[in-house]
């Protein structure tokens, strides 16, 4: 932002910058091959990104390879052998209902990861759609979408899920997924709307409009590339949050219902004073799994944020206090 460079109407970077509108740095130069290369370099050299992605891959690998790592079924109740300590057959023992814990930890991770991934995709997609509609159309559409956001944010999301989960007897994973996504989209929508409101005024969009491009084409070719970075950052935090919420819900008995395994309900089954004190193998592994995944996602989000918003990092423009 150091100087006023010659304004080229057709170059995204000068167009937005020259008007004091700053689409997230790192994205503004996205179109040029050099910019993309630089972005890739920054991604691959950011320790947070590497740690986060590595941690996620590790967990995902373990969960995907579950059948290779255990011969036991996660949903079979070994009724003759409940509440057993670790043994060669049941590596982490069994719980009060006779479920094999090691198998439940592995397969439960699948449920959690699936929930996090699908929920994030759904809510981000919904947020992108809603936000684009609001930011691009403006007027009453904008007002309506924003009020809807407010409504969802006002209706505390956990309460919604608890009410629904308590009221509907059988909570399946799919229902939980839909519920969580339905409450998680407003931040993405607001983000997209805010960016679009800025970008709409940018020179390169106006130029494209003057050149006769239709709204779809402008959205796809000119706007979407600027939204990817911020949405990606937002998505990692959404995923982390969704998984933490699922864990919290399961702990108070409202999450994924047994026999379907999830880290949260494994922990729930251990929530009595005796088990917590004397049988750490029941609750420590799923707790580590959940914390580890949330931590990896948070690291990844932090790294992406540094890559896409470099103003806070060591090498970007930064302040001295």
């Amino acid at each position: 932002m150091a100087g006023q460079r010659p304004v080229n109407l057709f170059a995204p970077e000068t167009g937005a910058g020259a008007r004091g509108i700053n689409p997230p740095a790192g994205l503004s130069a996205r179109r040029s091959a050099r910019g993309e290369e630089a972005l890739r370099w920054r991604l691959l050299h950011n320790p947070w990104v590497l740690c986060g992605a590595g941690g996620l891959l590790l967990v995902a690998g373990l969960c995907v390879c579950a059948p290779l790592l255990t011969g036991q079924s996660p949903v079979h109740q070994y009724l003759e052998n409940t509440d057993a300590p670790p043994s060669p057959v049941h590596w982490l023992g069994t719980d009060n209902s006779g479920f094999d814990l090691w198998a439940r930890d592995l397969y439960g991770g699948r449920t959690d990861l699936l929930l996090g991934l699908a929920g994030t995709l759904l809510s981000t997609g919904l947020g992108l759609g809603m936000g684009s509609l609001a930011g691009w159309r403006g007027g009453w559409v904008d007002g309506g979408v924003m009020r809807l956001c407010d409504l969802v944010l006002t209706f505390p999301s956990l309460l919604l899920v608890v009410v629904l989960a308590g009221v509907i007897h059988h909570v399946t994973v799919l229902l939980l997924l839909l519920l969580l996504s339905a409450t998680a989209w407003p931040p993405a929508a607001r983000l997209v709307r805010g960016l679009l409101l800025q970008l709409r005024q940018a020179d390169f969009v106006i130029a494209a409009r003057l050149a006769g491009a239709g709204p779809w084409r402008i959205w796809w070719r000119h706007l979407l590339p600027h939204l990817v970075g911020p949405l990606l950052v937002n998505a990692t935090f959404t995923a982390a949050n969704l998984m933490a919420v699922e864990g919290g819900l399961a702990v108070i008995g409202f999450g994924v219902q047994p026999p379907q395994p999830s880290w949260g309900n494994v922990i729930h089954s251990a929530l009595d004073y005796f088990t917590l004190q004397t049988e750490p193998w029941v609750w420590v592994p799923p707790t580590i799994g959940l914390s580890w995944t949330v931590m990896s996602l948070t690291c990844l989000g932090e790294g992406l944020r540094q890559v896409f918003h470099p103003e806070f990092t060591r090498h970007g423009r930064r302040g001295r206090v």
């Binding site: 009020r147 999301s157 509907i168 702990v251 922990i267 959940l290 914390s291 989000g301």
Partner: protein, 330 residues
């Protein structure tokens, strides 16, 4: 300003109506009701009894009819009776809300006391090893599931040392029910929540302060020859911390609306626990009342945030007041 606040308060009405409509529909779309939860289905003439009750309570009327009737009574302050506890709903919601509000204030105060100094120090020593270490620690603390923090603290502070009561909101024996007693009971959930949330706050403060200190006007302040302390307090913090004030308002609203997981874990009788209880017993009047109170708290928190923001920053802007890390999702 007063006009603005009054206008905003009126603006909340449609939002609250929408909330009640959604809640009402939810209650009625689901199979089963308080009757099923309360009455033993094996008793004699259960269906006939039910018919009588339904006719008396108007459960067979069209849904919108029932809604209008409920709403009319609700705005008159007649929130109905709890099916499960056989007392007026406000006798349940009132004390529960007070407990939740107390917990919210304790939590927010502790969060600020822990989070803000850490964030300021992190910004002051930005990019030093201390900053990196604490940045890492705060990610770990943030990622730890809340209940893990809660259980560890419960074990250490309540079961082993008996410093703090493990559950409930009032104790027994002399002094029970006094403010001090209530504070002692709120302390354990508040500490657990504050530990997790202060990780977010410290991060937030650090980034806000760093962003503010890179601004041109801070350079102008230095070019004036001002002392570092003046630059920091008057120029960096004044602007850097105003988004935090907004966050404070939002969080206070969300916390005062009750915390399901925290209150459930500590059996702390706030709105969250009341809601859990009501959901289990299908106590629809209680559920509706709690939903309205909770939503109002969130809306008032939003208003508080906007008012505080306008107070802190003469350019009242509306955009960009959300933080990246959601705080109260637990």
């Amino acid at each position: 300003m007063v006009v603005y606040i009054v206008k905003r308060l009126f603006g909340m009405i449609p939002m609250l109506l929408a909330v009640t409509v959604v809640a009402f529909l939810l209650m009625h779309a689901a199979p089963g009701d308080a009757w099923d939860a309360l009455i033993n289905p094996s008793i004699k003439d259960v269906d006939q009894l039910r018919q009588v009750q339904a006719a008396a309570a108007g459960w067979n009327d069209p849904l919108w009819h029932q809604y209008v009737r409920w709403l009319g009574l609700f705005v008159q302050g007649q929130w109905g009776y709890s099916f499960a506890h056989h007392v007026p709903v406000w006798q349940l919601v009132g004390p529960a809300w007070l407990n939740s509000a107390l917990l919210a204030c304790c939590t927010e105060a502790l969060t600020l006391v822990i989070g803000v100094p850490l964030g300021l120090w992190q910004a002051y020593r930005a990019h030093s090893w201390w900053d990196h270490v604490w940045g890492g620690v705060s990610v770990v603390v943030y990622a730890l599931p809340f209940y893990v923090v809660a259980l560890v603290l419960l074990d250490a502070l309540a079961f082993h040392s008996h410093w703090l009561p493990a559950q409930g909101a009032v104790g027994t024996g002399p002094g029970a029910g006094s403010l001090g007693d209530r504070l002692r009971h709120a302390l354990l959930p508040a500490i657990s929540l504050a530990l997790v949330n202060s990780a977010v706050y410290s991060r937030y403060v650090r980034d806000a302060v760093l962003a503010a200190s890179a601004r041109d006007y801070v350079r102008t302040a230095r070019a004036k020859g001002l002392r570092e302390r003046t630059v920091y307090v008057r120029h960096v913090l004044r602007t850097g911390l105003s988004p935090l004030i907004t966050q404070l308002g939002l969080d206070l609203g969300a916390l005062a609306g009750g915390l399901v997981v925290a209150e459930g874990l500590f059996s702390y009788p706030g709105l969250g626990l009341l809601l859990l209880d009501a959901v289990h017993s299908r106590d629809s009047n209680v559920i509706l009342a709690v939903t309205v109170v909770t939503s109002s708290a969130v809306l008032i928190g939003n208003l508080l945030a906007d008012v505080l923001y306008a107070w802190a920053d003469p350019r009242v802007r509306t955009a960009g007041r959300e933080s990246q890390w959601p705080v109260n999702a637990r």
